[in-house]
Structure formats: structure tokens, C-alpha cells
């Protein structure tokens, strides 16, 4: 790991406490470090400073110096340098740390400023919290409680504005609730590079809107809902579905690509209601793609596999495992691993392949990157397969595709997500060797870990020549052709880790139980079984949960030698990438990632 350069530290004084912060840190962030809350609406750490809400007003002073000699002027009363306080309050969001800067946030003037801004924000606010989705995570509610006066002096008519403006397919606007902080406008312009939002009209009648003829439909549009501090922007998917305070939050990882955006999965009673980004300044900042937020819908989709099948008949796990091992006992076995499996699963997959003396293969899933948070490699964990040794080279990528990837492509982040989705649907490949081996009669049994062999390029004729053991979550051509089908768990139903394009190992946790609500026990007849249990059973290893697998991983994989699942921080840990530096990775540039020069 490379140590970051030491930032230039300066000492500032906030409410009487000295604190050293990097030069240029703003007062909101500096105060946060000592537990002082500077309330704010328009400031967002990942957007430019707008300074419009005026909630963050603070008192500011600078050490006094003699204008002529520049010598410090001392205060005889305290023996310290005198502080020249500016009578006019300043905004904390645009006030940056400089040596000796003094800040007061707890004076009567600042209390009055905050009460004033809170009152102003509420005079035309509809106060419809009982029917508002933002209730419970609303900055207006929080700060009215913390900093408001608690009563109203407003007896005039409130402004009336549109209550339901569909800004795009996934985002609904309630203009009456909007506090005009401009976060969504700045996000669209600065991050999504899709400058479609703006204000029309002026004064208190200002209204957020899309430019005529345009829609907020890029694949990052839902981030505006996340950063809207109030209930003005809501998700059409989540709207009116569930009160946020009933939801359990589970940390997870977006599986759309090798970026590995950090996420939170919000669930209640075994059902997922939404996925939102989780801040990781080294990976996804505070953002994620819209497409990744819909993945939870696969959990309850109609084609979910829930029954163990052997030769088409319902079966039990031990029978299924025995049947699979029978099919493999005469050799000629190939194991198709997956870049969508966790590190732990890939490790057991390798163990299984070793035990069966099987050849190993990995399906590559490569599309266009959007230069933001979806990379060209749509497998979340190809690097995990390298680290545990399941593969030692990159799975092959079709020649046409490789040519297409190297020619520079326009940014897809700003494309409508439908369009981005179709244009960027990944191309599956990597099984050419396996196809040849089947044709040559060398491989007779294929164990596929969640990969649809047909989609990855095997013909129906090739599938017909082999016996298939399929472990997976959803029905497809491979599960239909398989002799043994064992339903397994989706990423939301289990624990594990992925290694992203930066070689950052990141963990995800189980948010909900598997389908049919059954415990993931080995004898389950219906429902799905944890992949680790199945793989451990097939490989005949007594390590069928993440903690147990990690004991083996730490012992056998030098790169993970000092780690355990429990001690991987929530923001991940960088692994040493140098052993793999020469490999032809597919990714182009994305947020916080630059490919090594080739």
C-alpha cells in the first residue's frame, strides 16, 4: 500500500477547541471532527460549494496583526493573540481552514441565524410529513427539531406549486417541498455530466424543472433522490412503499461491475425495499448507478430456482451432491467458475476442481464502461479468482470486442439508462477451450457455478454431449439441461467478499434470508442453499461458512494471510496488485480508477 502524501495541517479553533486539519478543510468538516454539528442543506462534500441555504452561518475571526509591521497584536487579558471577529456571520461551507482561524457556532447570533433560516424554509413548506416518504430521514425535520423555534408566526397564504412532476422514469418531484438547495442540479451537471435540471421563475416562486424537451433519465438519476435533503425528489420505485424507520440497513456491494460500489440494502421482514449508495471516498464517493438499485428485484423474481432437482425430480442436497460426484468420478470433469462468486466461493471452487482434477474456466463478462461507476468488466470479482488462484490468466475476450474496447467510447453515464443498458450489455465469453475439449470428447461432466453455459457460447449440441451439474439462483438454458440443479443464494442472502478493480477486498453481508424464507440448512428440500455449503459438500471440506473458509484462506493464500472476514474494514482493504500487473484487464478509466498504462 502506498501511503498518501501528508496534507498541510493548520490549527483552527472551533468553539474554543483547537484542532489541526488539512489546510482548506471547510468549517463544516472541521467542526465535524470535534463533534460540533454545523447544520446545512446545500453543502455536499462531493459537489461544488453553492452557499445558498445559509443554514451553516458561523462567526469567524482571525488573529489580529499590526497592519504595518505584521506583528501579532496580543490581548493583555488572555495573554494570547487578539482575535478580530467579523461582525457579519459567514457561511461555514465556504469558509476554509487557514492558520489561526477562529470559529464560533454557539453564540446567540448564530442561534438566531439558524432559527431565522429554519423559519424561512418552513413558511412555504407544505408540512406534509405524514404522507412524505422523506419523513424519518429529512433534514428539515431534523434541523427544525435541533435548531428551529418550534412555533410559527406565518399567517399568510403559502405558495402553491406542482406536487407531482415526473422528472424522469425514476424520479418524482414535489416542488412545494423543494428548498432550492441546487444539489440535484449540481450533481447532474458535475457528476453525471447530464446538465438537464435547472430553476425557472424567481424569488420564492422558483421552481426546479428539466430543460424543455429533456428528462432526468440518465443511469445516475436516483442519486439526486439520495442527496435531496428533503422530500422533494423521491424514487418512483420506493415512493409510498415503506416508512424508512422500519427498515434494516445491511452493508453490501454493487455487483454490476468490477467497480464494486459500496451500498446499503434496506429491508424489512425478509423483503428488500431499496438499495442506496454507501459512502466510500476511495471507490464510489457517495454515488451509485440506478441500474444497481434494481438488482434486488431478482431476489423474488419468478424464475428463481427454489427446488433441488436430480434428473428432473425433486431431491435433497445430500442426494444431489452424491449424484454430482458420481457423474464426476470417471474424470473428464471441467469446473466453470464465476467472476460473480465471492472470494470464499471461488476458493472452494478451486478446491473442488483440485479434488476432481478438473480443468477450470471462468466466464468473462465485458461491456462498455460508463467512465463513472460501471466499468467494462461486468464481473464484480475476477480479481478474487486471481487472488485465490482459481485462474492465473484473464479469461479470453472475443477479438471483436477487444478491438471495440480499445477505441475510445463516449461517456455512457449521461445516457438514458435504458439506452446505456442495451448498448452496454456485456458480452459473455471465455469458454472456447472448454468447447474444444467437449468436441474432442475430453470433457464429459461440467460443474457450472452459476454460469449459463449457453449464454457464454456453448452450443446446444455441446450441451447435449455433457452431463451438467448446475449451482445457481435463476433458471436458464443450463439449468434446464442439467442433470443436477442445486439452487443457491443471491448476493443479498449471504456473506462474502469481492475484490474490485483496484484490488480492494470489500465485504458484503446477508440482508435477507433465502427464498421461501427457509434457513439455509444442508438438508433443505425447498429453498436455496448457501453456495459455500454446496461447494464444501462437493469438495468434501469441513468449512461451510465464511468464517471457516477464511481460516483456510488465511493459511493457504499468502495475500490474505493476515486477514479474517471480521477484520476487513467496511470500506475495504487494498491488496497487493503487483503479481497481476501484466494481465490484460478490461477496465478503462472510472471514478477513482485509472488503468495501468499498457
Amino acid at each position: 500500500m502506498i501511503a498518501p502524501p501528508k496534507p498541510d495541517l493548520v490549527t483552527v479553533n472551533i468553539d474554543g477547541k483547537d484542532i489541526a486539519v488539512p489546510k482548506g478543510t471547510n468549517v463544516i468538516e472541521a467542526a465535524r471532527l470535534i463533534g460540533v454539528d454545523v447544520p446545512h442543506y446545500c453543502y455536499h462534500p462531493k459537489l461544488t460549494i453553492s452557499g445558498n441555504c445559509r443554514m451553516c452561518l458561523i462567526e469567524m475571526g482571525n488573529p489580529a496583526v499590526d497592519p504595518a509591521t505584521k506583528a501579532p497584536i496580543m490581548d493583555p487579558a488572555t495573554g494570547k493573540q487578539k482575535i478580530n471577529w467579523i461582525p457579519r456571520p459567514q457561511i461555514g461551507c465556504a469558509t476554509n481552514a487557514s492558520p489561526g482561524l477562529h470559529i464560533r457556532t454557539n453564540t446567540p447570533q448564530i442561534k438566531d441565524c439558524r432559527e431565522g433560516v429554519m423559519e424561512f424554509l418552513l413558511v412555504n413548506h407544505p408540512l406534509d410529513c405524514p404522507i412524505c416518504d422523506q419523513a424519518g430521514e429529512c433534514k428539515l425535520q431534523e434541523q427544525a427539531t435541533g435548531y428551529g423555534r418550534g412555533y410559527s408566526r406565518f399567517i399568510e397564504q403559502k405558495n402553491v406549486k406542482p406536487k407531482r412532476t415526473q422528472l424522469g422514469p425514476r424520479v418524482m418531484l414535489d416542488d412545494e417541498r423543494c428548498v432550492l438547495c441546487s444539489r440535484c442540479i449540481r450533481f447532474s451537471k458535475e457528476i453525471a455530466k447530464d446538465d438537464v435540471l435547472g430553476f425557472i421563475d424567481r424569488g420564492s416562486y422558483s421552481t426546479l424543472t428539466c430543460y424543455p424537451g429533456k428528462k432526468l433519465e440518465n443511469n445516475y438519476s436516483l442519486n439526486t433522490v439520495d442527496i435531496c435533503p428533503v422530500g422533494a425528489l423521491t424514487s418512483t420505485d420506493f415512493r409510498f412503499k415503506m416508512r424508512v424507520w422500519f427498515l434494516k440497513q445491511t452493508n453490501s456491494i454493487d455487483t454490476e461491475s468490477s467497480v464494486g460500489a459500496n451500498t446499503v440494502v434496506w429491508s424489512r421482514e425478509g423483503q428488500i425495499y431499496r438499495i442506496t449508495p454507501r459512502r466510500n471516498d476511495d471507490v464510489n464517493d457517495t454515488w451509485m448507478a440506478d441500474s444497481g438499485r434494481e438488482l434486488y428485484k431478482q431476489v423474488r423474481s419468478a424464475d428463481r430456482l427454489t427446488t433441488i432437482k436430480v434428473n428432473g425430480a425433486d431431491s435433497a442436497l445430500d442426494i444431489a451432491i452424491n449424484t454430482a460426484l458420481q457423474l464426476a468420478k470417471d474424470g473428464g470433469v471441467a469446473v466453470v467458475g464465476s467472476g460473480r462468486s465471492s472470494v470464499e466461493e471461488q476458493f472452494l471452487t478451486k478446491k473442488l476442481a483440485d479434488a476432481l482434477k478438473a480443468s477450470t474456466h471462468l466466464v468473462s463478462r465485458v461491456g462498455q464502461g460508463d467512465k463513472l461507476l460501471i466499468s467494462a468488466d461486468r464481473n464484480p470479482n475476477v480479481r478474487g479468482a486471481l487472488v485465490v488462484g482459481l485462474i492465473s490468466t484473464m479469461p479470453e475476450v472475443g477479438p471483436a470486442l477487444r478491438a471495440g474496447l480499445s477505441s475510445s467510447v463516449h461517456s455512457l453515464a449521461s445516457q438514458p439508462s435504458t439506452q446505456a443498458g442495451s448498448e452496454s450489455r456485456p458480452h459473455l465469453s471465455g469458454l472456447t477451450d472448454l468447447a474444444a475439449a467437449i468436441d474432442a470428447g475430453q470433457v464429459k461432466t461440467v460443474i457450472s457455478i452459476g454460469e449459463d453455459l449457453a449464454a457464454a457460447g456453448l452450443t446446444a449440441a455441446q450441451l447435449g454431449k455433457i452431463s451438467i451439474v448446475y449451482l445457481g439462483t435463476h433458471a436458464n438454458a443450463t439449468s434446464a439441461a442439467a442433470k443436477v440443479v442445486i439452487p443457491t443464494l443471491s448476493v443479498f442472502e449471504k456473506n462474502g467478499t469481492f475484490v474490485n478493480q483496484q484490488f480492494r477486498i470489500q465485504k458484503f453481508a446477508k440482508a435477507v434470508p433465502g427464498p421461501a424464507g427457509l434457513p439455509a440448512e444442508a438438508s433443505a428440500k425447498a429453498g436455496a442453499t448457501d453456495d459455500l455449503i454446496v461447494l464444501a459438500g462437493l469438495a468434501n471440506i469441513a468449512a461451510s461458512d465464511v468464517a471457516a473458509v477464511w481460516k483456510l484462506l488465511a493459511a493457504e493464500v499468502p495475500a490474505l494471510g493476515t486477514m479474517s472476514y471480521a477484520n476487513i474494514p467496511e470500506t475495504g482493504l487494498l491488496l497487493d496488485a503487483t503479481p497481476f500487473a501484466a494481465l490484460p484487464f478490461a477496465e478503462g478509466e472510472t471514478l477513482h480508477f485509472k488503468p495501468a498504462k499498457s
Binding site: 445558498n52 456571520p89 430553476f199 424567481r202
Partner: protein
Amino acid sequence: MAAPEQRRIIFQHIDAPGYSNDLACYVKHGGYEILKKAVAMPPAAIIDEVKKSGLRGRGGAGFGCGLKWSLVDRKSGKPIYLVVNADESEPGTFKDRYIIHQDPHQLIEGIMVTCWANNVKQAYIYIRGEMPHGARILEQAIAEARAANFVGPNILGTSYSCEIYVHRGAGAYICGEETGLIESLEGKRPYPRIKPPYFPAVLGLYQCPTIVNNVETLCHVKHIVDMGGDNYAKIGTPNNTGTRILCVSGHVQRPGYYEYEVGKITMGQLLNEVCGGPLPGRKFKAVIPGGSSSKILRFGETFTLKNKDGSSRTLTIEDIPMDFDTLAACGTMGGSGGVIVMDDSVNMVEALANLNAFYAHESCGQCTPCREGSLWMKKITTRMVHANARAEDGQLLKSVADQIAGRTVCAFGEACSWPTQSFVAKFGDEFKAYPETKKQSKNGDALELV
């Protein structure tokens, strides 16, 4: 004491019989001779003269012109722009438009002298959208000056080139605020910028160092180079040098524009002698001395001010010399020179309702206190006038205004709260009595809807 004579420097030719706004007429009256003089001087020497002159901005804030120029970042390597503020929209102010309409070359010469002094290669005149005729006149005048080699490439045979462009606004008062103006000039909504960091002198137009000056201010620059900074500083009074144009409107016999040495004429002389006093049978009640956003003064009140020697003096409104410093000491400002007079026929609640309607309409809406406060104040005064007024509304108004001033992105926050603060402070009795006043008035609803 009798009022002094007008001293017309800027308005020398305004309304003069036979004077036209074309180049030939301007040159016949000595036009562009000062530009010729200027390009023979080192730029720094001109900045020095302007500093010595003590010229203060005529756009509203009265900021030292030479000081403003000296703050310009000249080391950035970026171009320096001059932006001429011709947005003149402060209610009560009507001076720049006469310069533009009747003597545009005076402005152009002032601009070119300023550009030379500050190494500016491009100047923009941002003219109020409601003045299309003025914009055409300026464009015509620039074309003439360009053809005569006073503007454009290699002016007057030098290696110095400078272009002037006219940009029309789209009708918003906030486009007069210098950073709102810059945003608008860049093609955006005129949301004033936060300062810091966006001081025009460092990060102005297109994030380049920029000088923003008012039309009248730039005309003065020409005359400063003509007579020399020291001589100019002898006009007017110390720290309040030169002449300025006072635009008098409202309840006087002879409203109009008058140019006087700054501080040499008192409010009383201006209103009673120059403007002929109140209308027949009326008495002066109040005056707003520097454009509608400056704080109102009530006739009959007195001001006790400190002298330099520590003694003090007491002034009535009539005694106040029309300069920057004394008006500021009396709790108001010289502002843009728009003097708005109200006599005893005016009800102050209704007058404030009118002003509040203007400010609520013009708030850009960017920052919370001004956006919500200006409309709230309007709603209160509109309700007072057209529906039910409460005795406590005056205090509520004041408290709303107090939550705006000093807490906003731009000085519009002050502009919209000072009227309310001062009306309630000076005429609180009238606000308290307004519910009764309404009952007694015949129609119970005195004011036209605003």
C-alpha cells in the same frame, strides 16, 4: 443659505440645445482628446490619478474606484475584463440612461481610458433589457468610434487594441449586482456569486480578473485624466470628491436630475430651492436619499453626529449635505443618487407595500433569507393594505427583515430589508395605527393592487 449653482461635468451636454449623440458632435466639443492624452501616459500613472482623485463608485456602494482597480489580480496571466454596469434599475435612479441616450461617446471615452489604464482588451457594456433604444445608440456610437480608430485594433496608431461589446439584459434588477451581472453575461441565471471566493477582481467574468464599474463612474474617469487627480479632488468635499447626479422624484414641484459637487448642497437646498419645495398645500413627510433600498428619513427627525475634533453637531434632514459620509452617518446612504420624496398624502404602510412588492418580485431566489423573507414581507404588507391589518404587524415585519440583512449571498438582502427596517423604525406609530386608519378611510382600502 442659497443653493449653490449646479456644476455640470458629466451632464455638461445633456439637454443642451443643438447637442447630438453622434461622433461628429462629440469631437467638435473636444471629444476623444482625453483618450489621446491617456494613451500617451503610462497606465500606472492613470491609476495613480484616479486614486488621487478620491473618486467613489456611483453605482451604489460608493467604493473607492482607484482602490477597486488596485485590487485587480494582474499576475494571473489571464485577461482582465472591464464590465460597465448600465443595468440602472434601482427605483428612483435615472442618470445613466441620459448619458447613454444623449452623450454615449463620453461613456465610450471613459471606458477606453479605463481599459488602457488597466490593460483591458475587452469591455462589455451590460445594459438593462428595458432600454433597447439605449442599446442601439451605444452600438451605433461604438461603430462610429471604431471607424474613427478610437475603439478596436491598434487605437490611435498605437499597438493597443480593445473592443467594446454591448450586452442586453433580460429584465431583472438583480442583474445590476455585479456578480449576478457577470453570471448573466456568461449566459446563466443571474445568481450572485458567493464572496469569497468569487471577488470580481480575482475571479470575475469567465473566472478572470474583472473590473465592474457604473456608467457614471467611468465618465468621471475621463474628466479625472483631463484635469488631473489632485484638481478633481478639489471638487466636492474631502473623501466625497467630484460631482454627482442627484435624481429627484416624487412629491416636489420640480423633479428631475441635477449635478452638484458632492456634499456642497444640502437636502433642504435640493428639495426646497432646486426642486421648488412640496406640492401646493402639502408638507414633506419622508425622503429616501439614495435609491429605494436606502433607509428612509423622516422629516422632523434630527441627527447628532460626531465631529473630528470630538465635539458634536445636530442636523435636521434639511441640513444634511448630500455626500456619502454624512448620509451614512445619518443611518442611510448616498447609494445611487435617487432621491425619492414623499409628502403628507402618503401612508407609509402603503408605500412600504409598494416597495416590498418590488423586492419580492426581484429577489433572485437563490438564498433562503432573501427569497422567503422578501415574499413574506410582501405578503404581510399586502394583507395589511388589502385585508386585515394587525397592530403587531409592524414588529413582525421588522423581525423578518432582521432575519435577512447581513445573512444573504448578496447585498439584495440589505436592499430588501432596509426599507422595512427603516419604515418601521421611523414610522412605527403609523404601522401600529394602521388598522384604525383603515377603518376611518372612506374606501377602507386605499391602495391600488400592486
